[in-house]
């Protein structure tokens, strides 16, 4: 064989770019987080204290919170992840990234996406789904840039000079494939204009798809890439190999397989079918094992290097980061137990849990990686090592204050909301609980400020370290020899270890999906193939082992198997729910279709991000029913595109708000919440009384709703507008009788119309059940 020795220069410019972007967006994400944390304590910060009269629209909590979450996830962690992936992939593959052009497009494209998000979200342009708020043209750009990243990454794997794929690369592969799948499915929409669309899923389907995505955004955007970074950078920093490579294999496969099933734990005790809730809870509990396996593997990698904790900021941040990973992945499954969730859900406990993950795990791993990379990417030393130490302590104290405050706040509010007096009535009003947790909101903001202070210290430290220093690129001398996989792609796919289990699973699926005799045929196939799989495994043990070894050197079939493992959970949960003919499968209630004006009001509600503080889902829990009314049925939100079940109650649930109070109360409350609800921290929505309702696009919106299956009668554009005008005039007239003069063509009128419609439904009789045919699904066993 002709061995050609050559020196390869890595593309570290891309790493530096992503690293600098991480620092920049990190400050912005944290700063916005601190602002909204203070807003919850002091409502005037929604713009009033910046000279904005009663408040500024673009500064309201509902608009800024999506900016904070998107900036933290996609801008801060996204750029950090890309820096780590670009740096470690080149070194593990012993080759330069495949294309400098693609790396450049990836970097600048990603920054353009972030800038677009930073502009559109405060303007109220949103899809109204958590962590999936960006409007559809930006979604398309995200998908394109992700594909560019994927092509660049996989081409690099193809051109590598190291035959084996280290475990960090497996995690990167899982990230790229699964995020693409999640993002595309959850962002499927039909546009009504360049800045607005409706998701193709509605009601329970949308809730399920959303939390399949939302939960796995945490899994595959905030966890798997960082685990890859952990498996690369921790051994480097500790100067010793990973504690157990065997454990890392188990960690990887079990994590990828289990994580994807756990999404329904975000919808416990709701109208979601009971079997999905149980599945979500069980798989969440199973996550304990791989998560802690990974954490222990990370911490034990530091065996013998613990002495460095005192002096090396990199080790310090990594050790604390991995510990926070362990803490939050212990807490998560705990909160996914239905009874615990009854108290924790919709409360600040969840917020504390999320932040122990993002600030502790993501933020500290980012800091450790940055302190590791800066001296190497600029061939320098850290200007102020003591500042790095200070950063660590500020960050740590900040997180502890933050999550402690949220634990106390969440548990206290949960307990107060659930307390029932001896006479069967509720002991506390919602506002009582809000007032009780107000001081804790201040503590949370202080904790966040400390963390931000530490982060800024790092930014200045990095700047002091690299200014006037020339950037350097890593090089490596390698023997370039073509890597010839032991088996071809097709041989890897059409191999016994893949085919027989696939036949078995297909058989079981047919048993589940088909009626009568076909179902039994599927069962026979499934059992037969299961038996054959076991028999072949015992007989061809060595051959199967060789196949697996070969798989680790073949990135393409490896990636496909990762996709199959990750997609399986989603398909089992989503396909039955999506394919269900929902209008015929509701229980005893079917949502009344919105009038044109109410639909417009709903779009205002979504645009203002009301779902960030108000749920629309009354759980099957006694305190929920006592406080808000009869529990929510599956059919009551079936025409909601997108669903607005929510995930947090800073304000009360609104599922049955319609008709509880008159239009005058709603108007006055939106204009000045504290005039009617003393102690409320809701922003004033006076600006909705100054903003014209968009009647022009209403026909297009209704047309898309009809396409999605909402049973609107045929209406011309003029009829649609006329109906909207008539209803808004009627509301304005009613307000006028109470001395309130409102222009009917204002957003506030449409929003009132929507609020008054919440909870309206038609009684329906479920079709009689014929054995062997689909029947209504229910949330209760």
């Amino acid at each position: 064989m002709n061995l050609n020795k050559t020196t390869i220069e890595f593309d570290d410019r891309s790493v530096r770019r992503f690293l600098i972007a991480t620092l920049l967006w990190g400050v912005i994400a944290l700063l916005v987080g601190v602002i909204i944390a203070f807003q919850l304590h002091r409502w005037q910060l929604n713009g009033k204290e910046f000279g904005g009269g009663e408040g500024l629209a673009w500064l309201t909590f509902g608009r800024l919170r999506p900016l904070h979450t998107n900036a933290a996830i996609f801008a801060f962690v996204g750029n950090m992840m890309f820096a780590g992936i670009y740096y470690s992939t080149q070194r593990l593959c012993k080759c330069r990234m495949a294309s400098d052009l693609l790396s450049g497009i990836h970097f600048w494209g990603w920054q353009a996406i972030i800038v677009c998000a930073a502009v559109t979200l405060p303007l109220g342009l949103t899809r109204g789904k958590e962590y999936a708020e960006l409007i559809w043209p930006i979604n398309v750009l995200v998908a394109l840039i992700w594909v560019v990243f994927a092509i660049n990454f996989f081409l690099t794997l193809k051109r590598r000079n190291e035959p084996s794929l280290y475990v960090a690369l497996w995690f990167y592969i899982a990230t790229i494939i699964t995020v693409a799948m999640l993002y595309i499915v959850n962002h499927l929409s039909i546009p009504t204009s360049w800045i607005h669309s409706y998701p193709i899923f509605g009601g329970v389907q949308d809730a399920l798809v959303q939390w399949w995505y939302g939960h796995n955004a945490v899994a595959f955007f905030l966890t798997t890439p960082i685990l890859g970074i952990m498996y690369y950078f921790m051994p480097k920093a500790a100067e010793r190999p990973v504690y157990s490579y065997r454990l890392s294999i188990v960690h990887f496969w079990s994590l990828v397989f289990i994580y994807i099933w756990a999404g329904p734990h975000h919808l416990l005790n709701t109208a979601l079918p009971y079997w999905l809730q149980m599945l979500g809870m069980l798989f969440s509990l199973m996550l304990w094992a791989p998560s802690w396996g990974g954490m222990l593997n990370g911490l034990l990698t530091l065996r013998g290097a613990w002495g460095k904790l005192r002096t090396d900021p990199v080790i310090k941040f990594f050790a604390a980061g991995v510990t926070f990973y362990g803490m939050s992945t212990f807490e998560g499954p705990l909160m996914a137990i239905r009874t615990v969730n009854a108290l924790s859900h919709y409360s600040d406990w969840t917020i504390g849990h999320v932040h122990s993950g993002t600030l502790g795990w993501n933020g500290f791993m980012a800091a450790g990686m940055i302190y590791y990379l800066v001296p190497r990417l600029w061939k320098t030393e850290l200007a102020k090592p003591s500042w790095a130490n200070m950063h660590f302590w500020l960050g740590l104290v900040g997180i502890l204050i933050y999550i402690s405050a949220m634990w106390v706040s969440g548990i206290m509010q949960g307990l107060m909301l659930n307390q029932v007096a001896a006479d069967g009535s509720l002991k506390y009003q919602f506002l009582d609980t809000l007032k009780a947790i107000r001081p804790l909101m201040l503590f949370r903001a202080i904790g966040g400020t400390l963390y931000l202070g530490g982060f800024i210290l790092m930014v200045v430290n990095v700047w002091l370290s690299v200014r006037k220093k020339a950037p350097v690129n890593g090089t490596i001398e390698v023997v370039v020899a073509p890597i010839n996989p032991k088996s071809s792609f097709w041989k890897m796919i059409f191999a016994e270890p893949v085919l027989f289990p696939v036949f078995a699973i297909t058989g079981y699926c047919l048993w589940f999906l088909l009626p009568g005799v076909y179902a039994w045929a599927g069962l026979v196939l499934g059992v037969d193939m299961t038996w054959r799989t076991i028999w072949l495994f015992i007989r061809h043990k060595e051959k199967w082992s060789a196949w697996y070894d070969s798989l680790l050197e073949n990135w393409a079939p490896f990636s496909i198997l990762v996709f199959v493992a990750a997609a399986a959970g989603g398909m089992v949960q989503i396909i039955p729910t999506v394919m269900m003919n929902h209008a015929k499968n509701v229980e005893d209630r079917l949502q009344t279709v919105y009038t044109p004006l109410e639909l417009m009001g709903r779009d205002v509600y979504v645009s203002e991000g009301c779902y960030n503080c108000h749920s629309q889902q009354i759980r099957m829990l006694v305190p929920d029913v006592l406080r808000y009314g009869d529990y929510s049925r599956l059919g009551e939100s079936i025409f909601d595109y997108p669903h607005q079940w929510g995930s947090k109650r800073t304000g009360p649930d609104l599922a049955r708000e319609g008709g509880k109070r008159n239009n005058t109360w709603q108007f006055q409350h939106l204009m000045d919440p504290r005039a009617l609800s003393a102690g409320s921290n809701m922003p004033s929505y006076h600006f909705l009384n100054d903003t014209e309702a968009d009647l022009k696009t209403l026909p297009a919106r209704i047309a898309v709703q009809q396409t999605l299956g909402v049973p609107y009668p045929p209406m011309t554009d003029d009829v649609i507008r006329q109906k909207a005008i008539e209803q808004s005039v009627a509301i304005a007239q009613e307000l006028k009788t109470n001395g309130l003069y409102v222009d009917p063509n204002r957003q506030i009128v449409a929003l009132i119309a929507y609020l008054q419609k919440l909870g309206k439904f038609d009684e329906v009789t479920p079709p009689e059940h014929i054995p062997g045919t689909p029947v209504p699904i229910t949330a209760q066993p």
Binding site: E9, D11, D12, R13, S88, R91, D100, S164, Y166, V167, A168, Y231, Y232, P235, K236, R240, P241, V242, Y245, R246, L247, I249, V250, W253, S254, F257, I258, W261, W275, M278, L279, M281, L282, F283, M286, R376, K379, A470, P471, V472, N473, G474, T475, I476, E477, F512, L513, L514, P515, S545, Y548, D549, P576, M580, T773, P774, V775, P776, I777, P781
Partner: protein, 61 residues
């Protein structure tokens, strides 16, 4: 197709089947990991440490 969705037993055994499948996948991968050869393990675990730490000043790539 969805006949089992509302059967009471479905609530009980779906998660159990899910658990069993996962346990099987988990067991197989554990066996596979335990059967890996020592040399192979060492090679894989040392991959991040193989890099030669040399650098060059950036030029126009």
């Amino acid at each position: 197709m969805f006949k089992r969705l509302s059967f009471e037993t479905w609530d009980g055994w779906t998660p159990m089947v899910g658990f069993a499948l996962t346990a099987v996948a988990f067991t197989i991968i554990v066996i596979r990991a335990l059967r890996m050869k020592k040399g192979e393990i060492q090679h894989m675990a040392n991959l991040p440490l193989e890099e030669t730490p040399t650098t060059t000043e950036e030029h126009g790539h």
